[in-house]
Symmetry: C2
Subunit: 325 residues, 2 copies
């Protein structure tokens, strides 16, 4: 199924999307010039703004017709996302994101850390303006879990014993939790608690699928398609699902090489590691898991009324899956 | 006037202080082991907990008799403070704080950045539990200003043209704003808007005095007393008030040396810079400014009823001043 992002996903909320973008621009305005220019740089380096779009679509799928407040929520989601990316790039010492120089590379680690802090604070500041206490609680708890997920990932670095269960905990924090906040937040703001669980479930499973797909692409794409350096995760000894599965599926020399590769990091064995991952059946398993998570996400949508927005959320999950077809 | 911290400052709120400490311990608990151990390390490296004590005293000075909720607010204040310290140490590449190894030195920058993020998120999470929307707004706006102040400081690094006005903007963000949140937050929570302005004014001026005093001590203390490396700020080319004033008060060779020292950073001229600062009358001016700010802080307290807690806040301001007598 060929899915067009603009037509099949964005179009129901295209107007709200533009308004949301304006809220982001207002949100990052600051009397301190350096705060402004760094925030602008990192926000503009943003991709398709998938998370805020999910938020807007979720509100519409709940039957919300006036998305003015949701636009602000969606802006908060994107700003929180941007803040974590800025800090991630410091943590991973990345110079490139989506083919553009990162904040730490353009300025320095110091600036990136502090502007990331500003973006977190400003996100809460905008969120408080929505004047919705249960939403605030969900977000404050959620951002704790996101930070914990990031630390868990750090803790698992160079640990070849990392299980799929731990991997799922990590990607819950680093990806799925913010997806959930985007969609369940929209339902809360729309005053539709009956759809909240379904949308949270959709986002949680879709987030898992999305991250697994991302980790598969490390072993099947070239640098240009991916917009980041292949082997970045391997370099840092991060035990992603393809590696965890390859460890499970192999023994002897191949197993030892993957094990050592996670334990020590580095790219000395890059070509052989890719070879082993590809030949071990690990990618097939990862694809199966991505399909399962996508299916669970889509199943959750069944509980919502049949609208164009629901269809767009459905399309979004399929578009992600298409990347590994 | 000899002031004893325990007796003359802490004693009115000693019980609440212990309860507050317990809230911090609960606040930093996490299912991720690394989050826990790093948080514990940085929280325990905390000093006298001056900010939460100010918060508790402010509540009592407002006539609040049950400080249960204030204890939580005070815990939030200390956790926010700790979070900024953790990120500051990454930014400044500091290995030592109060004579103990920093988080970035004990673990690494990555861990310090992410655990700092966790502490910010958890602070908001605890704050939300207080269920007080105007307080939340004050804190969300305040933490934005704190982050902006930190970036402003970064922006001023290696800028010998930095004025006293910019310096005041910087220390407002890095020090005084959180002092204000501690005291005005207490007044808000106590439901005493009539004391809010006075307490905010006290904290703002005391914060300024406190930071100016801190910057004076760089030029009058030895490493052991200070618990940090003398010359750290100079090393990083930070234009503090002693340097800004020394630049104003000197010309010719001495002026050039200070100018170059800020512009390039480094410690090549450390001894001469200290000499020039000490001989230029800069420290006298800084002491005068510290006295003025302390006086303004104390004057603001006049608006509060005469209680033991008010006296303790008064003593706190004087204790800080005693460090440069």
């Amino acid at each position: 199924m060929a899915i067009d992002f603009q037509q099949d996903i964005l179009s129901p909320v295209a107007t709200d999307f533009a308004a949301m973008d304006q809220f982001i621009n207002e949100g990052i305005s600051s009397k301190v010039a350096l705060v402004m220019s760094v925030s602008k740089h990192v926000v503009e380096a943003g991709g398709k703004r998938m998370r805020p779009i999910m938020c807007l679509l979720a509100a519409q799928a709940c039957g919300e017709t006036d998305l003015t407040r949701t636009q602000k929520l969606a802006a908060v989601i994107e700003m929180l996302h941007t803040a974590t990316l800025v800090h991630d790039d410091v943590v991973d010492e990345s110079n490139l994101r989506r083919g553009r120089p990162t904040a730490n590379a353009t300025w320095n680690n110091q600036t990136a850390v502090l502007v990331g802090d500003f973006l977190i604070a400003r996100s809460f500041d905008l969120l408080v303006d929505l004047n919705h206490m249960p939403l605030l609680k969900e977000f404050s708890t959620g951002t704790c879990e996101i930070a914990e997920g990031e630390v868990l990932q750090l803790q698992a670095q160079h640990q070849p014993e990392t299980t799929e269960e731990i991997y799922l905990d990590i990607i819950y924090g680093k990806t799925s939790r913010l997806f959930q906040l985007a969609t369940e937040g929209a339902a809360m703001l729309a005053g539709k608690p009956e759809y909240r669980t379904a949308l949270k479930k959709y986002a949680g499973h879709f987030g898992n699928a999305f991250q697994i797909i991302d980790d598969i692409l490390d072993y099947t794409s070239d640098k240009e398609t991916l917009g980041k350096n292949i082997g970045d995760d391997l370099m840092e000894g991060k035990p992603t699902l393809p590696l965890i599965t390859a460890l499970k599926n192999t023994h002897g020399e191949a197993h030892q090489m993957i094990y050592k590769s996670i334990a020590t990091g580095g790219l000395d064995d890059l070509d052989q590691v890719i070879q082993v991952v590809q030949n071990s059946g690990a990618l097939d398993y990862c694809r199966k898991r991505a399909h399962e998570e996508t299916q669970a996400a889509i199943d959750a949508l069944e509980l919502l009324p049949n609208t164009q927005a629901r269809q767009a959320l459905f399309n979004l999950a399929h578009l992600a899956l298409n990347r590994i077809q």
